[in-house]
């Protein structure tokens, strides 16, 4: 008899685990997947190109419905199939419409939700997050007829949304509480380069401020009022002030949770039969929002599920790329550094190139590349592998080619 694996969450983390598992232990499990969106598994990162029209929904599908059939994976998807409860005693998962599936092992991959700030007047049409296909479809539809878009949040997702809507012909303003853009990924200088470049494209910025009220007309957003009292016309407000792990289900069934679902190095939750991967987990105090470590979790989890109990997840540095045409940006690790760190910096103002490398004990711990990211993979490896760089320090900034040329 095959073991039963149930996966809650038809997103990138859960399905990556399924993929890995089919590779490593084909036929070991009967697999059932629950997903709340009415789609197959798609690449959420690629929603940005969909927004600005470079790709279609079909283009970004990782697993379409045929895939589930061909691989004998049972898929329950759509709002009715959202999981509402888990009976840990009976090892049974129950969906909104009553669909129920028994498991020997359970994988929770519920991902995260956009953080929707509690701004007065927010419960009107035209206020949305930027998280799933439905959000993107709404944005595309509104962009066709409306004029003013306001983005709250100058992070990666916010800037990608801003750029996408700009491409779709809207006038776009970005409101950000921090004084500089991408403050989780960039330092002041890089952010200034980025802001200049985006401003040149036509995006307006309101930094160091936030939205204190949303005005509406006929139940539809019409304007936003900033904390300094000024008012921006708004036909759409995208909230991209961050994400929070989607842990309500896990909490309800009593799994140990802090900010996320607490997992050990084998991606197991406080219930040995239940695993968790992706943006919903908290591992050694850390949350995850980027694809690389999530895929690594999926790999470890799949190996555990297939019986390789020595496989362990280690947090690795992961990098950021901004998917905005014409903007090359890469950021990894501790790019601000501390007192023990040393900083290397390259600036070409006219070319719009800024690079920063942060060293601690002659190891690269953080990198920002702005305007030229051709060596990003190499830097990422240096950070991951903790390669000592003493011998190449004076050429480090100039990438891998400079090493070959100096030889």
């Amino acid at each position: 008899m095959k073991l039963k694996l149930v996966v809650i969450g038809n997103g990138m983390a859960g399905m990556r685990t399924v993929d890995e598992l089919i590779q490593t232990a084909p036929g070991r499990y009967d697999i059932t997947v629950f997903g709340a969106e009415p789609h197959g598994n798609y690449n959420r990162i690629m929603l940005t190109p969909v927004l600005f029209g470079a790709k279609s929904i079909a283009d970004i599908m990782i697993h379409d419905f045929d895939w589930y059939l061909n691989n004998r994976v049972t898929l329950y998807c759509g709002p009715d199939k959202a999981v509402v409860n888990i009976d840990r005693e009976r090892r049974c998962v129950i969906a909104h419409d009553g669909t129920c599936a028994f498991y020997d092992k359970l994988l929770i991959a519920t991902g995260s939700l956009p953080l929707m700030l509690d701004i007065p007047g927010r419960n009107v049409e035209g206020v949305l997050g930027f998280r799933d296909i439905a959000d993107v479809e709404t944005m595309i539809e509104k962009a066709a007829s409306k004029r003013h878009a306001v983005i709250l949040g100058g992070g990666l997702l916010g800037l990608e949304a801003a750029n996408g809507l700009l491409k779709r012909g809207m006038q776009v303003s970005v409101v950000n509480r921090a004084g500089h853009l991408l403050n989780r990924q960039l330092d002041n200088k890089a952010a200034a380069f980025l802001q200049r470049q985006l401003a040149d494209k036509g995006i307006q910025f309101y930094l160091g401020t936030t939205i204190q009220r949303i005005d509406s007309r006929d139940e539809h957003i019409s304007a936003v009022e900033l904390s300094d009292g000024s008012v921006l016309p708004a036909d759409m407000l995208i909230m991209s002030t961050g994400i929070k792990p989607n842990i309500s289900l896990a909490k309800r069934i009593g799994l140990e949770c802090q900010h996320g679902i607490v997992v050990d190095d084998s991606m197991r939750t406080s219930d040995p039969a239940i695993f968790s991967v992706g943006e919903c987990v908290q591992h050694r105090g850390e949350l995850f929002g980027l694809v690389a470590p999530v895929y690594e979790q999926a790999k470890v989890c799949a190996q555990q599920l297939s019986g390789q109990t020595n496989s362990q997840f280690k947090t690795l540095s992961s990098a950021t790329m901004l998917k905005v045409t014409g903007i090359d940006l890469f950021s990894v690790g501790d790019f601000e550094g501390d007192n023990e760190c040393q900083t290397l910096q390259l600036i070409d103002h006219e070319l719009g190139v800024y690079k920063k490398i942060v060293l601690r004990n002659n190891i690269v711990v953080g990198v920002i590349l702005y305007g030229d990211t051709s060596d990003s993979a190499w830097y990422l490896n240096l950070v991951k592998d903790k390669t000592p760089i003493t011998a190449i320090r004076d050429r480090l900034m100039f990438g891998q080619t400079s090493l070959a040329n100096a030889a």
């Binding site: 040393q342 600036i347 320090r393 080619t401 100096a406």
Partner: protein, 892 residues
């Protein structure tokens, strides 16, 4: 277009040049070797080949000035004449002096000498040739009774044994060296021996290199003489018939150098090597001994010359094809200077101040009753007399003694407090010109019109390619005009250089016969030469007289010398080590010398970017063992200190250097470097007979110079840099390069760079700049661009490992930098797909180290010929052939 035959102005080889003037207003000229000239048959070295790059108006002195104020010629000439007369009237003729140069043409030289010795009435005229070959003059005169070079270049090709003694001919006389190389290829029996404390590029073709202990050459040649006697290899008939003084000379030789072991031990050589040399010398009839500054620049230089000549006289190997003692002079017209008597201890036309008959003869010829009748002050003594205030007026022509003299800081101070310093030169900014009260603009090489004599006695024409620039005038004209204004109108009434040459030739022929006393130097055939024939003069070896109208290839074929009894004289030589021996405080012996691609104080070669690339900075060569013991890292800066002064130089570790010996190049000046003047270090010891300084052996101390930071700047515009104690300026193609260092701690590089490099104040704005910093490691690099065109870049680092300027320099040729180039710029390395040729090895074809390494590796090149076929390197002047060999795979 107009093709003109002229002569190279650099070393004493005297190569013929065919210059094609492309544009006379912009001084564009194409230079190639004159295939008909007997010195070079069309070949040119890297320096000669790049003459076209040195004839621009850059840094030319174009107008007369007094105390920095531009004046017209009349005012300048009147001023000089009046001031000289005033000082002479008040203090006597001994209170004035001329310091002239082997760069002057014979005509210039003749007039200067005539004015000082004939009309001012003192022999206080000396020349930079004093520093170069005055010992060789003494050697020849003592042996032959006249300053006569017996041999010619053909003898190098006919010889079967060539000794290169104290001569790095490969770099200093490249075309003569190439003739030896070729001769060796054609004649496998030809052996070459290099006798030199250091392994130089000349060792490339050596069958034997004897790294003799510095200064021990005389003992080595005494050893040869003793060996010849002991082994019955003397030409007794020749000794008996044509010489005198043999017994004393050989007895002294036996005493000082009577056995191979004794010689080997004293010279720091192996007995086997000494034995081989002695054996080859004893058994090879056709032997030429080439000697140069390594012999001459010595406290016993004259004796060393005679120790060599003794060996040739004892074997009768002189005056016949393929043999002879052959002095290689340094300068283009050192020989012409000797002919006119430009040295303080000679008169004119190879006559002597010490000989009353000569003095009388010249006095009658010149029609002067004031002629000097005793020797004047030789260079070192002359500047001492200036320092002591005995000489109150000095006129320096076409030379740069503040750089080239020993104890050069003293020379500088002497000129600083001298009452009247007149400098005539073609270059505006020299260390010496800076100290002048009166500056007189002379014509430069490309404008001069007259004759020079090369080191095989061959007189060739230097012909003007362009009209004189600015207000520049020929030196003979300037001197004549001053002479006329001093009251000697008739005697200096020359209208052309042909006028002067004619008089010079007539003097050489004046009473030059057996009835009076026969003299070697005789141009009687030219005593009535007209302008047309002077202009058409073909290269010819003197004497050119009734019996020898086509010139004279070899002297002393008949065994008749110019002594009173027509016999050559052996000189008994007691070998002496250098006067100042290394000691505990100054444990190293400092040797000085030339580089392949530079000439003298770089006022001209320094203008050619191609020539600066080979060795861009002052350096000091040191043996690896010494460097390791003293902790001197390659490329770091070292302080070289003697009792007389100090200099800073880049450390080059070289196993070709002896342990305990150092070598520095002679070329750097206060204009090109802050602390690169080797003259400041060199001891002012002179040979008692020749007065030539001992420039090759100064005891020194060497230590690390504790630089806190190093920097390289490349700038399209010349810069005035403050805040860096160590500075070297190098000419690049379309840029200037500055190598900097300091013992002070670093500064705010960003602020410093922008204030130094920005052409306009608003350019300090970020948008004009690229910046790289690694503050904790001490690195800062920046580049300044205008409209995407590179203007300047600065690289600062905590050590001397800064980028080489090869690829960076090439960016100055571009009007716009690509994105890839900008992104690579501050790494100093080219982006992927572009190549850096590296340090230039072959100046003729601009071939760099990295290109050679790559070609050798990828195309499995096995020989220099392969490299030449592939990259052209080495196929021009051939001076880099020795270096090319180092890139070839080592035989296993």
């Amino acid at each position: 277009m107009n093709t003109i035959k002229t002569t190279c102005p650099y070393c004493g080889v005297g190569c013929g040049i065919e210059a094609t003037v492309e544009d006379s207003t912009t001084h564009r000229v194409t230079i190639k070797g004159d295939s008909t000239h007997p010195a070079n048959f069309g070949k040119l070295c890297s320096k000669g080949a790049t003459l076209g790059d040195t004839v621009s108006l850059e840094n030319r002195l174009l107008y007369p000035s007094i105390h920095g104020q531009r004046v017209d010629w009349d005012s300048a000439l009147n001023h000089v004449a009046a001031r000289f007369n005033e000082i002479i009237e008040k203090h006597g003729p001994e209170a004035v002096a001329f310091y002239v140069s082997g760069q002057l043409l014979t005509e210039d030289y003749y007039v200067a000498n005539k004015l000082m010795k004939g009309f001012i009435g003192t022999a206080n005229i000396d020349t930079n040739s004093r520093l170069c070959m005055s010992s060789a003059v003494v050697g020849y005169k003592r042996a032959f009774g006249a300053d006569t070079v017996p041999c010619n270049y053909e003898d190098l090709e006919l010889a079967e044994l060539i000794l290169l003694v104290g001569s790095n001919a490969a770099w200093c006389h490249p075309i003569a060296f190439q003739r030896i190389r070729k001769a060796k290829e054609n004649n496998p029996n030809l052996k070459v021996v290099v006798i030199d404390p250091r392994a130089t590029a000349s060792c490339d073709i050596a069958d034997l290199h004897l790294p003799v202990k510095p200064g021990m050459d005389a003992l080595l040649f005494n050893g040869i003489l003793a060996h010849l006697q002991q082994n019955g290899r003397l030409d007794q008939a020749y000794i008996d018939d044509h010489t005198e003084g043999f017994a004393a000379a050989v007895s002294e030789a036996q005493h000082s150098a009577g056995s191979i072991e004794q010689v080997a031990s004293a010279c720091g050589l192996s007995s086997a090597a000494v034995g081989t040399l002695f054996d080859w010398f004893a058994h090879t009839e056709k032997t030429v001994t080439v000697y140069s500054q390594g012999i001459n620049q010595s406290g016993s230089g004259s004796d060393k010359c005679n120790a060599i000549i003794n060996c040739h006289l004892a074997t009768g190997r002189i005056g016949k094809p393929g043999m002879g003692p052959f002095s290689f002079t340094g300068q283009p017209n050192a020989m012409g200077g000797r002919e006119v008597g430009g040295l303080a201890n000679t008169l004119a036309a190879h006559m002597d101040l010490d000989n009353p008959e000569h003095v009388d003869r010249v006095s009658r010829f010149w029609g002067s009753d004031k002629i000097a009748d005793k020797q004047g002050l030789k260079a070192v003594a002359m500047f001492d007399a200036i320092a002591a205030g005995q000489i109150k007026a000095v006129w320096i022509m076409a030379t740069n003694p503040v750089v080239s003299m020993p104890d050069a800081d003293k020379v500088k101070h002497a000129l600083q407090q001298c009452e009247l310093v007149v400098v005539s030169d073609c270059i505006a900014n020299t260390d010496t010109a800076q100290l002048a009260h009166v500056l007189l603009p002379a014509t430069g090489w490309s404008e001069k019109d007259g004759t020079v004599t090369n080191l095989e006695r061959r007189i060739s024409r230097q012909r003007p390619l362009f009209p004189a620039s600015g207000a520049a005038r020929h030196d003979w004209w300037i001197i004549s005009q001053v002479a006329q204004r001093m009251g000697f109108r008739e005697a200096f009434n020359y209208a052309s250089s042909a006028d002067v040459f004619r008089e010079h030739a007539a003097l050489s022929a004046f009473e030059n016969d057996t009835e009076h006393q026969l003299r070697d130097f005789n141009l009687s055939a030219f005593a009535r030469i007209d302008q047309h024939d002077f202009d058409a003069l073909q290269p010819v070896q003197w004497p050119v007289s009734a019996g020898h109208t086509a010139g004279t290839a070899r002297m002393f074929a008949d065994g008749q010398y110019f002594t009173a009894n027509r016999k050559a004289r052996f000189i008994s030589i007691t070998p002496r080590p250098p006067v100042n021996a290394p000691n505990a405080d100054y444990p190293f012996t400092l040797n000085t010398g030339r580089l392949r691609d530079q000439w003298h104080t770089m006022t001209r070669t320094g203008l050619a970017a191609k020539l600066t690339a080979h060795r861009p900075e002052p350096f000091v060569e040191i043996h690896p063992t010494d460097a390791e013991r003293l902790g001197l890292a390659a490329r770091s800066l070292a302080n070289i200190q003697s009792l007389w002064g100090n200099m800073l130089a880049r450390v080059e570790i070289n196993p070709g250097q002896q342990i305990g010996s150092l070598f520095v190049p002679m070329h750097w000046t206060g204009q090109t470097s802050s602390h690169g003047r080797m003259g400041a270090v060199v001891n002012p010891v002179v040979d008692p007979h020749s007065g030539q300084p001992e420039s090759k052996q100064t005891p020194v101390h060497i230590s690390t110079w504790p630089a806190q930071w190093y920097a390289t700047i490349l700038s399209r515009k010349p810069l005035h840099i403050e805040g860096a104690e160590y500075q070297v300026k190098v000419r690049g193609e379309r840029y200037f390069r500055y190598e900097l260092a300091s013992t002070e701690t670093g500064k705010d590089w960003r602020v410093w760079a922008r204030s130094l490099l920005a052409a306009e104040e608003q350019h300090i704005d970020d948008n004009y700049w690229l910046e790289y910093s690694d503050q904790q490691a001490g690195y800062y690099r920046t580049a300044y661009l205008l409209d995407r065109e590179l203007q300047a870049c600065l690289f600062v680092g905590p050590n001397s490992e800064l980028p080489e300027p090869g690829w960076l320099g090439s960016l100055f040729a571009k009007t716009e930098l690509s994105r890839a180039e900008r992104l690579s710029l501050l790494s100093g390395l080219p982006p992927k797909g572009e190549t850096d040729i590296g340090r230039i090895v072959c100046s003729c074809f601009n071939v760099g180290e990295k290109s050679i390494k790559q070609a050798v590796q990828t195309q499995q090149l096995q020989s220099v010929a392969d490299i030449s076929a592939c990259l052209n390197a080495g196929s021009g002047c051939g001076s880099c052939v020795a270096e090319l060999k180092e890139f070839l795979p080592k035989p296993t």
